[in-house]
Each structure stands twice: as structure tokens, then as C-alpha cells.
């Protein structure tokens, strides 16, 4: 039977990433001053699981690397070694390294082992250097090991035996009295022995220890055996059969060629005694035979020197494994760790979601109801007349309800608590705070707020940027805070909550707040606003989202990664979300992100262009106005713009963009929909505004191919397909056209 283990890789990676996240968050909770046993245990368990899984699924690099980590953790867990801050830092780096390795493997690449090699050396240095505090128990452990409990002694013998190549083995097996009570069965062991060789084995039972019937405790095992196994069988294979019981049973392995005479005699005695026991009931005879048998056993010990000493009770202090509920912090994506130097590539597209059985059960329930409704309607349709109209309407109402409930439940499957996205921040804030020499408290609220998995994955990077920004630019240095009469430690608060069909995420700091004068000066200097403009506070705050804006006197390597607030804003816009900032000089700033709960459904504005229906995301629409026809004629040209109140906005004719053929000459009664994407307003000319409705987004890429300016498609109630306009994409189309300054013909 051969099983393809690769089918379990995805699950293994996912749980390993979760395990790494758990390790990380527990490590951050760990303080060398007061080591919490449960915390250490949780970390150990995560490392242990990763090692075990990696070994099983063939990721040798991971299991070997994790081995030393596990060893060090085990020493700390068992109290043999005191935890230091160096250990914690090293473990954290190990987590980053493992995450990067896993990411590579998950992407089908070979991991870069340079970093792992460095860390392994450090781990080895720690393990080898200062000897762990040797507990008295270790001595006993050594004793047990040299005793040959599956250890070196056995191997030596096996090698020796292989060279000797015996004709077979005689095994003397005296089980512990309670062997049967643990589920170990001699007959299965003998059957397994028989499986090692083709020649039938010989099994001889010794029943001399069997007590008188009324004294018998039937769950104990009083029998012992001598088994002869013929053929070239390695001792290691024999030992494997008795592996589970070798510590509390007496088992001797004697090569058949090397039996001593006393052995043979002993056997003879046992055999005779067997006969005697069967024929006679003379107890004294039994006892005598028993003694002979025992004596034989002693001789065996002397001659073959393979007998076991009394099973040593392993005196190693049994560490009570106090189970700790795993911190429910976990996230899969490897790109979480901002500290990891590895390129943050996401683990493949075939990611999966773990769904609780409850959610699946409720789905099944609803499908059941849907089926009932469907069959009811089907019956109704077979012989329908108007008298049954009420029934039909009732049925349709029920269908609508079923559908809605089903939709909600399916959406719920994709929902995950935002703690998955938040979990990276304790580490990030700790590392950054140390780097910048700022004291920071991180407060996370609303961690159980749920949002769509895809939205969650995409909001991660913008959030990281915002938090970095708050730490770097928002929070003042400790000295400045003291001078301002604020607490030394700055506070960054992450808060998530639901509000009217959206999820709101706030990133708040109690720092200096936005410096409006500085922002305005910079904006004027860069020509982003006219030199004479006077703006309100809110308008000034919005300037930071403009492309190419950065006020930091010195671009630090924290937030100065060539990424500005404009990119954050664009990322959020791509999710059909918005971001705004509220700030008060001296008391801090709050960034507020609003996101739709899911990307699968969009609030859309339906518009008509020629005979086609298109959909604009409702969030992107600024306003819609009637457009006089002659005005439309005036705005032709290579770079059509229109003055709308105080500003000039570029104008786009959707009919030309999509090369639509129209029945008449031109628009009869055009409408201008002003949309905003990428901070740019565009006016889009359409024939008519239709209704607003929620539409289910179907991917064009998956079903056809990517089309510039179109983010997807949906199927309308009448069965026709409508394209969903990608506002920033269509803006780029406009740019492309104007930059080539070609004729006003749509591509």
C-alpha cells in the first residue's frame, strides 16, 4: 500500500504557520524573570509538532533544524536550564527562519539554509557550552540506556549476530504478570515472529507458574514461553517484536548455534516438566520443576550475557504536562513577519479555510430547507392555476428567505476573526520599539470581529504600514513625551468593530498628532496644492495620502521603505474600502479604515451605456449629474476635461472605451457619473443610471482573462451579464490614452 503524502502538505504548512505564530506570541509573553511553565510548554509543543510533522512528511531540513530548538526548549521546560533573554531572542529568530523555510517549501522551492545554519550553530553553542544542570535523575537515565532499552547495546549485538549469521534463535520470554492488561498479546507477538521467517516457529509453553484454579487471577499472565525461530533473522527484528514489553518482561535472545549444553538440558527439563504438569498434579513436583527452570534461566544469564537487569524504574522527574489551551492567536500567511527577511510570498493559491462543523451543519440544514421549498414549488408548477397564486407567492417568499440565509451562511464560512491579522503586531511593536528606543504599549480591541479571509489577507500589509508609521512618526521620543507631560510609554491602539455592513479598523496613537503647518508647507513646496490655497484642518490631513508625500525629516528604515500613505490608500481602495485620518495636535492621530465585510459581494450602481449594463462600485461614486448634450460636444479633443465647480476633471466616454455601437447618433440625454479612484476624480459619461443593488462578483480572470478597466462581472436578475468597472483601472486607460496623445478613439 502506497500513499501519496503530498496530499497532506497543505494542511501541514497551514498548521505549522499557525504553530509558529503561537510560538511567537507565547515567546513575547515569556519573561526570563518569571518563567511560566505553561507558556514554555505551549512553545515546546508547537516546536515538537512541527518537527514531528516535518519528519513524517519528508521535510528533513525543517525537522533537523527544529530538533535543536526542541532540545533547548525541553531543557528549559524540564528545569535543567534557566531561560535567558538570549534564548528568547534566539527562539524568535528561529521562528522567523522557520517561517521563511516553510514559505519556500510551500511555494515548491528549496529553502535557503544559510540563516538556519547560523542559528543552528548558535543553538549548538548554547547546548554544548554551559552544561545543563545535571539532575540526579540523569544518572538513572544513563543506567537505563546502557541497559539496552532499544539502545546501543542492542545494535552492537545485532551487528555481531549478522556476522555470525545464526541458523536461528531461541527466545526465552517470561512476561510480566500484568502484560495482558495493557493490551499486549503474546499470541500476536508470536505471530509477528512467525512473519519474520518462512520456517514454522516452535512455541513451547511453561505453565509451571499457573496457580491452583481458585487462586487464579485470570487477568494476570502466569505462562511463559520458549520460542525457536529458524532462519537468518536479525536480532533487531526480534527485539522490535518485544519492543513495548522488554522493560518489564524477561526476554533472552540466544543464537541457536551458540546454545550451551546447560541450555539444552534446561529445555529438556522444561519439556519433561511440561509433560509432568499435564499428567500429574503433584504440586511438589511442579515446584521442583519450577526451581529447575529458574536455575536454567540463571545459567542462561551467565552463559549468554544477554539477560536484562531488573527493569530500572526511570527516576527522571516526571514533568507533569500541564495542558494549556493554545492561545487562539494564529495566522497562516508567512508574510506576516515583517522581521523575516524572506520575500513575503503567499503560500500558493490553493489555500484552504478550516470551517467548524457547526457552520457546515447549518449549511446542510439550509440546503435541506431549500430542497423542500424547491419540491413544493415544483409540485405547484405541475398543475398550476390562478387559485393557487397565494401558495405560489408564499413559496417564492420562502425561496427568497432560504436563499438569503444560505448566502449569509456561505459568507460566514469565509469569515475569520481579525485576531488573525492582529496577531503579528505584538512582535512587530516590540521589535520596532526596541529599535527606535521608544516605549510602547499595544492595545488590541475587538479581536473577535470577523471579516472575509481574502480581505483579511489583503489588509495585513496596509495595517503593518500604518502601525509602523504611528510608531515611527506618531509617537514622540521618551524625552519629548516627558517634556510634554505625557506618560513615558506611548500607546498604540488597534480597534476593530462592525458598523453598518462594514468593518471598521482604527489605528490610533497618543503621539504628537499631525503637524498641519509642516504638511501644508511640504504640499505647497511639492506643488500638490496651490501656493496661495488656504485649507481646513481636515483638508490638510488628507494631503498625506497624496502620492509622493513624505514629511519625515529623515527617511528612516522603518517607514521609509519607498511606500507612502498613497500606497496604503490605494491598497484599501482596491478592497473597495476607504481610509481617513483624524488628528489632534499634541494628543495623537487615528487612522480609520472602512472595509466591506466581503469581496464576494459588491454594492453596485447599475448604469446603461448604449444597450449594455455596467456596474460601478457604489463606494467610488462621488456624484452623478445631468449633462447637457452640447456640453458633451464641447468636451471632445485629445485630452477632454470638464470644469466641475472649481476643478477640472478628465472625462471618459464608456461607449468609446468599450467600442460600443450605438443605434442613434450620440447620447440623447447623457449623465455624468463622477467617480474617484487612486485619488483622481474622473467623469464617466453614460446613457442612464439604473438601480443600485448588491451583486455577486464573478471573476473574469478565472473564466476568461484579465481585462483592463474591468474588475469582474456579474449576472443580473434577467440573466444578462454585466461588467463591473474597475475605477482605478479605467483611470489608467485614460492616462495611457492621453500620454500617447492619440486620437480620441477608445482602444
Amino acid at each position: 500500500m502506497s500513499i501519496d503524502l503530498s496530499q497532506f502538505h497543505q494542511v501541514f504548512f497551514e498548521e505549522s504557520f499557525e504553530g509558529l505564530d503561537a510560538m511567537e506570541s507565547e515567546l513575547l509573553n515569556l519573561s526570563p524573570d518569571s518563567v511560566d511553565a505553561e507558556t514554555v510548554n505551549t512553545i515546546f509543543r508547537a516546536a515538537h509538532s512541527i518537527k514531528g510533522g516535518a519528519g513524517t512528511f519528508g521535510f528533513v531540513q525543517i525537522s533537523e533544524f527544529t530538533h535543536d530548538v526542541e532540545t533547548l526548549l525541553d531543557e528549559i521546560r524540564s528545569g535543567q536550564r534557566a531561560l535567558t533573554q538570549t534564548h528568547v531572542d534566539l527562539f524568535l529568530q528561529t521562528v522567523d527562519c522557520l517561517r521563511a523555510m516553510m514559505t519556500s517549501l510551500n511555494d515548491g522551492d528549496q529553502p535557503d539554509m544559510t540563516r538556519a545554519g547560523e542559528l543552528k550553530q548558535q543553538l549548538k553553542a548554547i547546548l554544548a557550552g554551559q552544561q545543563p544542570v545535571v539532575s540526579s535523575a540523569s544518572g538513572a537515565d544513563d543506567g537505563a540506556a546502557s541497559n539496552g532499552s532499544g539502545g546501543g547495546a542492542g545494535v552492537d549485538e545485532a551487528e555481531q549476530d549478522e556476522s555470525a549469521s545464526p541458523r536461528g534463535w531461541k527466545i526465552r520470554f517470561v512476561p510480566a504478570l500484568d502484560i495482558l492488561q495493557t493490551g499486549n498479546e503474546p499470541f500476536r507477538m508470536f505471530r509477528e515472529l512467525q512473519g519474520l521467517t518462512e520456517t514454522p516457529i516452535e512455541v513451547l509453553v511453561n505453565q509451571s507458574a499457573l496457580p491452583e484454579f481458585s487462586a487464579l487471577e485470570p487477568e494476570q499472565c502466569y505462562l511463559s514461553w520458549t520460542i525457536r525461530v529458524y532462519g537468518e533473522v536479525a536480532e533487531a527484528d526480534l527485539r522490535a517484536v518485544f519492543e513495548w514489553v522488554e522493560d518489564d518482561c524477561q526476554i533472552d535472545y540466544i543464537p541457536l548455534g551458540q546454545e550451551s549444553e546447560s541450555d539444552q538440558e534446561g529445555d529438556a527439563v522444561v519439556a519433561t516438566e511440561l509433560q509432568a504438569a499435564a499428567d500429574s498434579t503433584d504440586e511438589t513436583a511442579n515446584k521442583a520443576a519450577d526451581e529447575v527452570a529458574n536455575a536454567t534461566a540463571v545459567e542462561d544469564t551467565v552463559v549468554t550475557d544477554t539477560a536484562k537487569a531488573e527493569p530500572t524504574v526511570d527516576a527522571c522527574s516526571v514533568v507533569a504536562e500541564v495542558a494549556a489551551p493554545t492561545a487562539a492567536s494564529a495566522n497562516s500567511s508567512a508574510n506576516n513577519s515583517a522581521a523575516a527577511k524572506a520575500k513575503p510570498s503567499r503560500g500558493g493559491d490553493n489555500s484552504s479555510i478550516r470551517v467548524s462543523i457547526d457552520k457546515v451543519d447549518s449549511l446542510i440544514n439550509m440546503v435541506g430547507e431549500l430542497v423542500i421549498t424547491q419540491s413544493m414549488l415544483g409540485q405547484l408548477g405541475q398543475d398550476f392555476d390562478l387559485s393557487r397564486l397565494a401558495r405560489l407567492q408564499e413559496g417564492l417568499a420562502q425561496l427568497e428567505q432560504n436563499t438569503r440565509e444560505l448566502q449569509e451562511s456561505v459568507m460566514k464560512i469565509r469569515m475569520m476573526p481579525i485576531s488573525f491579522a492582529f496577531s503579528r503586531f505584538p512582535r512587530l511593536v516590540r521589535d520596532l520599539g526596541t529599535q527606535l528606543g521608544k516605549k510602547v504599549n499595544l492595545v488590541m480591541l475587538g479581536e473577535n470581529t470577523e471579516l472575509d479571509k481574502t480581505v483579511m489577507e489583503k489588509i495585513g500589509d496596509p495595517l503593518v504600514h500604518l502601525v509602523r508609521n504611528s510608531l515611527d512618526h506618531g509617537l514622540e521620543t521618551t524625552e519629548k513625551r516627558k517634556a510634554a507631560g505625557k506618560p513615558e510609554s506611548g500607546t498604540i491602539t488597534l480597534n476593530a468593530f462592525h458598523q453598518g455592513g462594514n468593518i471598521v479598523i482604527e489605528v490610533k496613537d497618543d503621539g504628537a498628532g499631525l503637524n498641519e503647518d509642516k504638511i501644508l508647507a511640504k504640499a505647497k513646496q511639492r506643488g500638490l496644492v496651490p501656493a496661495e490655497a488656504s485649507l481646513t484642518s481636515e483638508e490638510i490631513h488628507q494631503l498625506i495620502f497624496l502620492p509622493g508625500f513624505s514629511t519625515a525629516d529623515q527617511v528612516s528604515d522603518i517607514s521609509g521603505r519607498g511606500v507612502g500613505m498613497d500606497v496604503v490608500r490605494r491598497n484599501i481602495n482596491e478592497l473597495n474600502g476607504t481610509i481617513e485620518v483624524k488628528s489632534q495636535r499634541g494628543t495623537g492621530s487615528t487612522f480609520v479604515i472602512r472595509l466591506p465585510l466581503t469581496l464576494a459581494i459588491l454594492d453596485g450602481q447599475l448604469v446603461k451605456v448604449c444597450n449594455q449594463t455596467y456596474i460601478f462600485p457604489l463606494v467610488s461614486i462621488v456624484e452623478s449629474i445631468q449633462l447637457q448634450k452640447q456640453k458633451l460636444n464641447n468636451i471632445s479633443g485629445s485630452q477632454p476635461v470638464m470644469k466641475l465647480r472649481d476643478e477640472y476633471i478628465p472625462i471618459l466616454r464608456l461607449d468609446r472605451v468599450f467600442n460600443l455601437r450605438r443605434a442613434g447618433d450620440d447620447f440623447d440625454d447623457p449623465m455624468l457619473v463622477v467617480v474617484e479612484g487612486d485619488n483622481e476624480k474622473i467623469g464617466i459619461v453614460v446613457d442612464d443610471l439604473l438601480g443600485q443593488q448588491q451583486v455577486v462578483i464573478k471573476s473574469l480572470e478565472q473564466n476568461y482573462q484579465k481585462v483592463a478597466g474591468v474588475s469582474g462581472a456579474t449576472i443580473l436578475g434577467d440573466g444578462t451579464v454585466a461588467l463591473i468597472i474597475d475605477i482605478s483601472g479605467i483611470g489608467k486607460k485614460l492616462e495611457a490614452r492621453t500620454s500617447t496623445s492619440g486620437p480620441d478613439k477608445a482602444a
Binding site: F187, F190, R191, V203, L210, F213, S214, C221, W225
Partner: protein
């Protein structure tokens, strides 16, 4: 349960002659041994047996024979034969020729 047939008793080993049943079976057999009757062992329905079960039968066989009474099989399933053979108990359980 033992069913008395004139001077003898029949002990039914049931379908499982294994460690979880041996305590109860032991008590039933003790009764038979105390009453000093000839014993028939019915084991044709046994689908699973283990060391504890066969060890109990072995102890019974020895005790009954020591008391000079008769013990004999009334049907033996293949499982009982096979497991007895593996444990080297065939002759001790009087199953050698049947």
C-alpha cells in the same frame, strides 16, 4: 451459564473468550469445579480468543483432571485452535487430535 446435564455441566465460552470476559467465566467455572462435575466445553462460537482466555481454560483443564473428573470439548472454533497453536497450548488444552 452452566446447564446441568445429569452429572455433567456444559460451559459455553460464548463468542469472545478474552480478557474482558475471563473474570465472569472464572466464577462460573469455579462453581462447576466446586460441584465436582464432568465438564463439557462449548467453544464453537468463539470468534476471538486471547492468552487470558486460553490460560483460563488451561487452568480449568488441569484442575478438573487433578480431581479425576472428565473434561471434553463440545465443538471448537478455528480461532480457538489457531490461537492455541500460536501459544503452544494445543496439547495442553487437549486439542491435539480432534
Amino acid at each position: 451459564m452452566g446447564v446441568t446435564v445429569s452429572q455433567s455441566v456444559r460451559i459455553d465460552c460464548g463468542t469472545r473468550l478474552s480478557i474482558e470476559c475471563v473474570e465472569a467465566l472464572h466464577q462460573e467455572m469455579e462453581q462447576a469445579v466446586r460441584d465436582a462435575q464432568d465438564i463439557f466445553l462449548k467453544a464453537d462460537d468463539v470468534q476471538y480468543c486471547d492468552t487470558a482466555g486460553l490460560q483460563l481454560l488451561l487452568a480449568l483443564v488441569q484442575t478438573v483432571q487433578a480431581a479425576g473428573l472428565q473434561i471434553s470439548w463440545q465443538g471448537v472454533s478455528d480461532v480457538v485452535r489457531d490461537t492455541s497453536k500460536l501459544l503452544g497450548l494445543t496439547s495442553a488444552l487437549l486439542l491435539a487430535t480432534d
